[in-house]
Amino acid sequence: MHELALAESVLQMVDEAARANGFRRVRKIVLEIGQLAAVDPAAMRFCFDAVVRETVADGAVLEIEEIPGRGWCVHCAAVVPMDDFVAACPQCGSFGVQSRSGRELRLKTLEVE
Protein backbone atom coordinates (compact mmCIF):
# COMPACT_ATOMS: atom_id res chain seq x y z
CA MET A 1 0.00 0.00 0.00
CA HIS A 2 2.85 2.39 0.73
CA GLU A 3 4.25 1.79 -2.76
CA LEU A 4 2.66 5.11 -3.78
CA ALA A 5 4.77 7.00 -1.23
CA LEU A 6 7.84 5.07 -2.34
CA ALA A 7 7.18 5.82 -6.02
CA GLU A 8 6.83 9.52 -5.15
CA SER A 9 10.09 9.31 -3.27
CA VAL A 10 11.82 7.79 -6.32
CA LEU A 11 10.43 10.57 -8.50
CA GLN A 12 11.78 13.20 -6.09
CA MET A 13 15.24 11.64 -6.31
CA VAL A 14 14.99 11.60 -10.12
CA ASP A 15 13.99 15.27 -10.03
CA GLU A 16 17.00 16.12 -7.85
CA ALA A 17 19.26 14.19 -10.24
CA ALA A 18 17.76 16.06 -13.20
CA ARG A 19 18.60 19.38 -11.57
CA ALA A 20 22.12 18.26 -10.70
CA ASN A 21 22.93 16.56 -14.01
CA GLY A 22 20.81 18.52 -16.46
CA PHE A 23 19.11 15.72 -18.36
CA ARG A 24 15.74 16.14 -19.98
CA ARG A 25 14.38 12.64 -20.19
CA VAL A 26 14.74 9.43 -18.25
CA ARG A 27 14.74 6.29 -20.37
CA LYS A 28 15.22 3.71 -17.66
CA ILE A 29 15.10 3.57 -13.87
CA VAL A 30 16.72 0.66 -12.09
CA LEU A 31 15.54 -0.16 -8.56
CA GLU A 32 16.79 -2.79 -6.18
CA ILE A 33 14.01 -4.29 -4.09
CA GLY A 34 14.70 -6.97 -1.52
CA GLN A 35 12.32 -9.87 -1.10
CA LEU A 36 11.92 -8.95 2.59
CA ALA A 37 11.36 -5.22 2.02
CA ALA A 38 7.54 -5.49 2.20
CA VAL A 39 7.22 -4.00 -1.26
CA ASP A 40 5.20 -5.63 -4.00
CA PRO A 41 6.94 -5.07 -7.37
CA ALA A 42 3.63 -5.18 -9.26
CA ALA A 43 2.12 -2.51 -6.98
CA MET A 44 5.33 -0.49 -7.33
CA ARG A 45 5.01 -0.54 -11.14
CA PHE A 46 1.36 0.48 -10.96
CA CYS A 47 2.09 3.43 -8.63
CA PHE A 48 5.18 4.42 -10.58
CA ASP A 49 3.22 4.69 -13.84
CA ALA A 50 0.71 6.90 -12.04
CA VAL A 51 3.20 9.33 -10.48
CA VAL A 52 5.56 9.82 -13.44
CA ARG A 53 2.87 11.04 -15.82
CA GLU A 54 3.89 14.38 -17.36
CA THR A 55 7.23 14.39 -15.58
CA VAL A 56 10.80 13.95 -16.76
CA ALA A 57 10.36 10.22 -16.19
CA ASP A 58 7.17 9.85 -18.22
CA GLY A 59 7.47 6.74 -20.36
CA ALA A 60 10.61 5.51 -18.60
CA VAL A 61 11.14 1.76 -18.28
CA LEU A 62 11.09 0.63 -14.66
CA GLU A 63 13.53 -2.19 -14.11
CA ILE A 64 13.28 -3.94 -10.75
CA GLU A 65 16.12 -6.14 -9.57
CA GLU A 66 14.77 -8.40 -6.86
CA ILE A 67 17.28 -9.31 -4.16
CA PRO A 68 16.63 -12.72 -2.59
CA GLY A 69 16.36 -12.84 1.19
CA ARG A 70 19.18 -14.46 3.16
CA GLY A 71 19.35 -14.91 6.89
CA TRP A 72 21.60 -16.07 9.69
CA CYS A 73 20.24 -18.57 12.19
CA VAL A 74 20.98 -17.55 15.78
CA HIS A 75 20.73 -21.19 16.90
CA CYS A 76 22.84 -23.14 14.39
CA ALA A 77 24.77 -20.19 12.88
CA ALA A 78 23.95 -21.30 9.33
CA VAL A 79 23.42 -18.78 6.54
CA VAL A 80 20.14 -19.81 4.95
CA PRO A 81 17.73 -18.62 2.26
CA MET A 82 14.92 -16.57 3.79
CA ASP A 83 11.58 -16.12 2.04
CA ASP A 84 9.83 -14.35 4.90
CA PHE A 85 10.20 -13.49 8.57
CA VAL A 86 7.95 -16.30 9.70
CA ALA A 87 9.65 -19.45 8.42
CA ALA A 88 11.85 -21.65 10.59
CA CYS A 89 15.53 -22.27 9.84
CA PRO A 90 15.70 -24.95 7.10
CA GLN A 91 18.83 -26.41 8.75
CA CYS A 92 17.81 -26.82 12.40
CA GLY A 93 14.09 -26.00 12.40
CA SER A 94 14.25 -23.27 15.04
CA PHE A 95 12.80 -19.78 14.77
CA GLY A 96 14.81 -16.60 15.09
CA VAL A 97 16.56 -16.35 11.72
CA GLN A 98 17.96 -12.84 11.38
CA SER A 99 17.90 -11.21 7.97
CA ARG A 100 21.27 -10.47 6.37
CA SER A 101 20.05 -9.38 2.94
CA GLY A 102 16.75 -8.89 1.20
CA ARG A 103 15.62 -5.65 2.89
CA GLU A 104 17.11 -3.41 0.16
CA LEU A 105 15.05 -0.57 -1.23
CA ARG A 106 17.37 1.42 -3.44
CA LEU A 107 17.40 3.60 -6.51
CA LYS A 108 20.43 2.22 -8.33
CA THR A 109 20.86 3.88 -11.70
CA LEU A 110 19.13 6.08 -14.22
CA GLU A 111 19.55 5.92 -17.96
CA VAL A 112 18.98 9.45 -19.21
CA GLU A 113 19.31 11.61 -22.28
Binding site: M1, H2, Q12, F23, E54, L105, L107
Partner: protein, 311 residues
Amino acid sequence: MCMTCGCGSEGVHLDGHKDDVGHEHEHVGTDGVVYRHAHRHHHHGSDVSHRHDAEPAVPREIRIERDILAKNDSFASDNRQRFEQEGVLALNLVSSPGSGKTSLLVRTLLALQGKTPVAVIEGDQQTSLDAERIRATGIAAVQVNTGKGCHLDAQMVQRALAEQAPTPESLLFIENVGNLVCPAAFDLGEAAKVVVLSVTEGDDKPLKYPDMFRAARLMLINKCDLLPHVQFDVQRVIENARRVNPGIEVIQLSAVTGAGVAEWLDWLEREFGAVKARRADSVAVLKRRVAELEAQLQAQHTFPANEPHDL
Protein backbone atom coordinates in the same frame (compact mmCIF):
# COMPACT_ATOMS: atom_id res chain seq x y z
CA MET B 1 10.41 19.72 -22.89
CA CYS B 2 11.28 21.06 -19.45
CA MET B 3 14.16 19.04 -17.99
CA THR B 4 12.92 19.14 -14.45
CA CYS B 5 9.31 18.33 -14.85
CA GLY B 6 8.52 17.31 -18.40
CA CYS B 7 6.16 20.25 -18.79
CA GLY B 8 5.69 21.95 -22.12
CA SER B 9 5.96 18.78 -24.13
CA GLU B 10 2.87 19.78 -26.05
CA GLY B 11 1.94 22.99 -27.76
CA VAL B 12 5.36 24.61 -27.56
CA HIS B 13 7.78 25.01 -30.40
CA LEU B 14 11.53 25.20 -30.18
CA ASP B 15 13.74 25.10 -33.19
CA GLY B 16 17.09 24.27 -31.65
CA HIS B 17 18.68 27.69 -31.06
CA LYS B 18 19.24 29.35 -27.75
CA ASP B 19 17.51 32.61 -27.18
CA ASP B 20 17.16 34.89 -24.24
CA VAL B 21 13.47 35.23 -24.84
CA GLY B 22 11.99 32.52 -22.75
CA HIS B 23 9.14 31.91 -20.44
CA GLU B 24 8.79 31.29 -16.79
CA HIS B 25 6.16 29.10 -15.25
CA GLU B 26 5.36 27.11 -12.17
CA HIS B 27 3.93 23.74 -11.39
CA VAL B 28 3.26 21.69 -8.30
CA GLY B 29 5.43 18.65 -7.65
CA THR B 30 4.20 15.39 -6.18
CA ASP B 31 5.53 16.52 -2.80
CA GLY B 32 3.24 19.55 -2.89
CA VAL B 33 6.14 21.94 -3.48
CA VAL B 34 5.55 24.64 -6.07
CA TYR B 35 8.42 24.77 -8.54
CA ARG B 36 8.98 27.92 -10.56
CA HIS B 37 11.50 28.03 -13.32
CA ALA B 38 12.34 29.64 -16.61
CA HIS B 39 12.78 28.29 -20.11
CA ARG B 40 15.42 30.18 -22.07
CA HIS B 41 13.83 29.30 -25.37
CA HIS B 42 12.24 31.24 -28.18
CA HIS B 43 8.76 30.00 -28.76
CA HIS B 44 7.57 30.42 -32.30
CA GLY B 45 4.22 28.82 -32.28
CA SER B 46 1.87 26.58 -30.51
CA ASP B 47 1.21 23.89 -33.06
CA VAL B 48 4.57 22.13 -33.32
CA SER B 49 6.02 19.86 -30.64
CA HIS B 50 9.08 20.78 -28.54
CA ARG B 51 12.33 19.63 -30.16
CA HIS B 52 16.02 19.95 -29.39
CA ASP B 53 17.51 19.17 -32.83
CA ALA B 54 20.87 20.75 -32.03
CA GLU B 55 21.34 18.54 -28.99
CA PRO B 56 21.23 14.92 -30.11
CA ALA B 57 19.93 12.60 -27.42
CA VAL B 58 22.80 10.46 -26.20
CA PRO B 59 21.70 8.08 -23.49
CA ARG B 60 24.00 7.92 -20.49
CA GLU B 61 23.87 6.16 -17.16
CA ILE B 62 23.83 7.98 -13.84
CA ARG B 63 24.56 5.99 -10.70
CA ILE B 64 22.39 7.10 -7.80
CA GLU B 65 22.75 4.22 -5.31
CA ARG B 66 20.53 5.81 -2.69
CA ASP B 67 18.03 4.28 -0.34
CA ILE B 68 14.50 5.14 -1.42
CA LEU B 69 13.61 5.87 2.20
CA ALA B 70 16.75 7.99 2.72
CA LYS B 71 14.82 11.24 2.90
CA ASN B 72 12.37 9.90 5.47
CA ASP B 73 15.22 8.37 7.45
CA SER B 74 17.07 11.66 7.58
CA PHE B 75 14.00 13.47 8.97
CA ALA B 76 13.55 10.56 11.41
CA SER B 77 17.13 10.88 12.56
CA ASP B 78 16.65 14.65 13.18
CA ASN B 79 13.52 13.87 15.23
CA ARG B 80 15.30 11.14 17.20
CA GLN B 81 18.22 13.42 18.02
CA ARG B 82 15.84 16.11 19.21
CA PHE B 83 13.90 13.63 21.40
CA GLU B 84 17.12 12.32 22.93
CA GLN B 85 18.51 15.79 23.62
CA GLU B 86 15.28 16.93 25.25
CA GLY B 87 14.64 13.72 27.15
CA VAL B 88 11.35 13.05 25.34
CA LEU B 89 10.13 9.44 25.22
CA ALA B 90 8.42 9.23 21.81
CA LEU B 91 6.31 6.15 21.12
CA ASN B 92 4.78 5.27 17.78
CA LEU B 93 1.45 3.51 18.39
CA VAL B 94 0.47 1.26 15.50
CA SER B 95 -2.44 -1.12 14.91
CA SER B 96 -5.25 -1.93 12.54
CA PRO B 97 -8.31 0.38 12.69
CA GLY B 98 -10.58 -0.29 15.66
CA SER B 99 -8.04 -1.96 17.96
CA GLY B 100 -8.82 0.56 20.68
CA LYS B 101 -5.65 2.66 20.38
CA THR B 102 -7.39 5.94 21.10
CA SER B 103 -9.39 4.53 24.02
CA LEU B 104 -6.21 3.11 25.49
CA LEU B 105 -4.47 6.42 24.97
CA VAL B 106 -7.26 8.34 26.70
CA ARG B 107 -7.10 5.96 29.67
CA THR B 108 -3.30 6.27 29.78
CA LEU B 109 -3.41 10.08 29.66
CA LEU B 110 -5.93 10.20 32.51
CA ALA B 111 -3.68 7.94 34.58
CA LEU B 112 -0.60 10.11 33.91
CA GLN B 113 -2.42 13.40 34.53
CA GLY B 114 -0.64 15.61 37.04
CA LYS B 115 2.37 13.24 37.17
CA THR B 116 4.08 13.36 33.79
CA PRO B 117 3.93 15.97 31.02
CA VAL B 118 2.42 14.36 27.91
CA ALA B 119 1.77 15.44 24.32
CA VAL B 120 -0.01 13.61 21.52
CA ILE B 121 0.23 13.61 17.74
CA GLU B 122 -2.78 12.00 16.07
CA GLY B 123 -2.54 10.62 12.55
CA ASP B 124 -5.65 9.84 10.51
CA GLN B 125 -6.54 10.10 6.86
CA GLN B 126 -9.45 12.42 7.62
CA THR B 127 -11.16 14.28 10.50
CA SER B 128 -9.86 15.55 13.82
CA LEU B 129 -12.17 13.30 15.86
CA ASP B 130 -9.31 11.54 17.62
CA ALA B 131 -7.50 14.77 18.53
CA GLU B 132 -10.78 16.06 19.96
CA ARG B 133 -11.11 12.92 22.11
CA ILE B 134 -7.56 13.49 23.37
CA ARG B 135 -8.10 17.23 23.99
CA ALA B 136 -11.17 16.37 26.07
CA THR B 137 -8.73 14.93 28.64
CA GLY B 138 -7.01 18.31 28.86
CA ILE B 139 -3.90 17.13 26.96
CA ALA B 140 -2.59 19.06 23.95
CA ALA B 141 -2.95 17.13 20.69
CA VAL B 142 -1.96 17.92 17.12
CA GLN B 143 -3.99 16.21 14.42
CA VAL B 144 -2.18 15.29 11.21
CA ASN B 145 -4.45 14.38 8.31
CA THR B 146 -2.54 12.32 5.79
CA GLY B 147 -5.21 12.64 3.08
CA LYS B 148 -4.47 9.88 0.61
CA GLY B 149 -1.50 8.71 2.71
CA CYS B 150 -1.78 5.41 4.54
CA HIS B 151 0.88 6.20 7.18
CA LEU B 152 2.61 9.04 9.00
CA ASP B 153 6.10 9.91 7.82
CA ALA B 154 8.95 11.57 9.69
CA GLN B 155 8.48 14.91 7.96
CA MET B 156 4.81 15.10 9.02
CA VAL B 157 5.94 14.49 12.59
CA GLN B 158 8.56 17.21 12.29
CA ARG B 159 5.87 19.66 11.12
CA ALA B 160 3.63 18.64 14.02
CA LEU B 161 6.55 19.23 16.41
CA ALA B 162 7.00 22.73 14.98
CA GLU B 163 3.34 23.42 15.64
CA GLN B 164 3.50 22.17 19.21
CA ALA B 165 6.88 21.47 20.73
CA PRO B 166 6.84 18.86 23.51
CA THR B 167 8.23 20.07 26.84
CA PRO B 168 11.62 18.64 27.83
CA GLU B 169 11.42 15.40 29.83
CA SER B 170 7.94 14.47 28.68
CA LEU B 171 6.10 11.64 26.96
CA LEU B 172 5.04 11.94 23.34
CA PHE B 173 2.50 9.50 21.94
CA ILE B 174 2.28 9.41 18.17
CA GLU B 175 -0.88 7.58 17.17
CA ASN B 176 -0.29 6.36 13.64
CA VAL B 177 -2.91 5.79 10.94
CA GLY B 178 -4.82 2.55 11.60
CA ASN B 179 -2.99 0.19 9.25
CA LEU B 180 -0.95 -2.92 10.03
CA VAL B 181 1.16 -2.69 6.86
CA CYS B 182 2.61 0.65 5.80
CA PRO B 183 3.54 2.37 9.09
CA ALA B 184 6.05 -0.47 9.66
CA ALA B 185 8.28 0.88 6.89
CA PHE B 186 8.42 4.51 8.06
CA ASP B 187 10.69 5.42 10.94
CA LEU B 188 9.39 8.55 12.69
CA GLY B 189 12.33 8.91 15.05
CA GLU B 190 10.47 7.17 17.88
CA ALA B 191 12.14 5.29 20.72
CA ALA B 192 9.90 2.29 20.03
CA LYS B 193 6.90 1.16 18.04
CA VAL B 194 4.12 -0.23 20.21
CA VAL B 195 1.68 -2.45 18.36
CA VAL B 196 -1.85 -2.73 19.75
CA LEU B 197 -3.72 -5.92 18.84
CA SER B 198 -7.24 -6.50 20.13
CA VAL B 199 -8.63 -9.95 20.87
CA THR B 200 -11.45 -9.42 18.36
CA GLU B 201 -8.94 -9.42 15.52
CA GLY B 202 -7.65 -13.00 15.60
CA ASP B 203 -4.49 -14.61 16.97
CA ASP B 204 -2.96 -15.14 13.51
CA LYS B 205 -2.35 -11.41 12.89
CA PRO B 206 1.42 -11.53 13.68
CA LEU B 207 1.88 -14.16 10.96
CA LYS B 208 -0.29 -12.28 8.47
CA TYR B 209 1.41 -8.92 9.08
CA PRO B 210 4.91 -9.94 10.18
CA ASP B 211 6.63 -6.67 9.25
CA MET B 212 4.69 -4.70 11.84
CA PHE B 213 5.24 -7.21 14.64
CA ARG B 214 8.90 -7.41 13.70
CA ALA B 215 9.25 -3.61 13.90
CA ALA B 216 7.52 -3.32 17.29
CA ARG B 217 9.25 -3.57 20.67
CA LEU B 218 6.04 -4.09 22.65
CA MET B 219 2.72 -5.76 21.82
CA LEU B 220 -0.31 -4.67 23.82
CA ILE B 221 -3.13 -7.23 23.67
CA ASN B 222 -6.20 -5.05 24.16
CA LYS B 223 -9.88 -5.78 24.89
CA CYS B 224 -8.92 -8.73 27.12
CA ASP B 225 -12.27 -8.29 28.92
CA LEU B 226 -13.85 -9.79 25.78
CA LEU B 227 -11.76 -13.01 25.90
CA PRO B 228 -14.68 -15.15 27.23
CA HIS B 229 -16.71 -14.19 24.15
CA VAL B 230 -14.22 -14.64 21.31
CA GLN B 231 -12.08 -17.42 19.92
CA PHE B 232 -8.69 -15.95 20.62
CA ASP B 233 -5.81 -17.94 22.04
CA VAL B 234 -3.53 -15.58 24.00
CA GLN B 235 -0.67 -18.09 24.18
CA ARG B 236 -0.85 -18.71 20.44
CA VAL B 237 -0.75 -14.99 19.59
CA ILE B 238 2.33 -14.58 21.80
CA GLU B 239 4.01 -17.59 20.14
CA ASN B 240 3.16 -16.20 16.70
CA ALA B 241 4.51 -12.76 17.59
CA ARG B 242 7.75 -14.30 18.92
CA ARG B 243 8.15 -16.36 15.76
CA VAL B 244 8.60 -13.12 13.83
CA ASN B 245 10.22 -11.16 16.67
CA PRO B 246 11.74 -13.31 19.44
CA GLY B 247 12.45 -10.26 21.63
CA ILE B 248 8.97 -8.67 21.56
CA GLU B 249 7.55 -7.78 24.99
CA VAL B 250 3.86 -8.46 25.66
CA ILE B 251 1.29 -6.91 28.01
CA GLN B 252 -2.36 -8.01 28.22
CA LEU B 253 -4.85 -5.34 29.17
CA SER B 254 -8.27 -3.81 28.72
CA ALA B 255 -8.68 -0.10 28.08
CA VAL B 256 -12.33 -0.40 29.15
CA THR B 257 -12.00 -2.18 32.53
CA GLY B 258 -8.45 -1.00 33.25
CA ALA B 259 -7.16 -4.54 33.85
CA GLY B 260 -3.45 -4.78 33.04
CA VAL B 261 -3.11 -1.02 32.56
CA ALA B 262 -0.85 -0.77 35.63
CA GLU B 263 1.69 -3.05 33.92
CA TRP B 264 1.64 -0.78 30.85
CA LEU B 265 2.14 2.29 33.05
CA ASP B 266 5.12 0.52 34.69
CA TRP B 267 6.60 -0.16 31.26
CA LEU B 268 6.19 3.52 30.35
CA GLU B 269 7.82 4.62 33.60
CA ARG B 270 10.78 2.28 33.03
CA GLU B 271 11.34 3.48 29.45
CA PHE B 272 10.87 7.12 30.42
CA GLY B 273 13.35 6.68 33.27
CA ALA B 274 15.92 5.27 30.83
CA VAL B 275 15.45 8.23 28.46
CA LYS B 276 15.88 10.72 31.31
CA ALA B 277 18.95 8.86 32.59
CA ARG B 278 20.57 8.96 29.12
CA ARG B 279 19.90 12.68 28.93
CA ALA B 280 21.42 13.23 32.38
CA ASP B 281 24.46 11.19 31.28
CA SER B 282 24.96 13.21 28.13
CA VAL B 283 24.63 16.46 30.10
CA ALA B 284 27.21 15.09 32.57
CA VAL B 285 29.54 14.15 29.68
CA LEU B 286 29.20 17.65 28.22
CA LYS B 287 29.93 19.24 31.60
CA ARG B 288 33.02 17.04 32.02
CA ARG B 289 34.22 17.99 28.53
CA VAL B 290 33.71 21.71 29.28
CA ALA B 291 35.69 21.27 32.50
CA GLU B 292 38.53 19.52 30.59
CA LEU B 293 38.69 22.29 27.99
CA GLU B 294 38.69 24.96 30.70
CA ALA B 295 41.56 23.14 32.44
CA GLN B 296 43.50 23.03 29.14
CA LEU B 297 42.99 26.76 28.62
CA GLN B 298 44.10 27.39 32.17
CA ALA B 299 47.24 25.29 31.61
CA GLN B 300 48.11 27.26 28.45
CA HIS B 301 47.95 30.50 30.41
CA THR B 302 50.11 29.09 33.21
CA PHE B 303 52.87 27.78 30.89
CA PRO B 304 53.49 30.28 28.08
CA ALA B 305 53.96 28.75 24.63
CA ASN B 306 57.23 30.65 23.94
CA GLU B 307 59.43 28.12 25.73
CA PRO B 308 62.12 26.54 23.52
CA HIS B 309 61.11 23.29 21.79
CA ASP B 310 63.35 20.31 21.03
CA LEU B 311 63.32 19.70 17.31
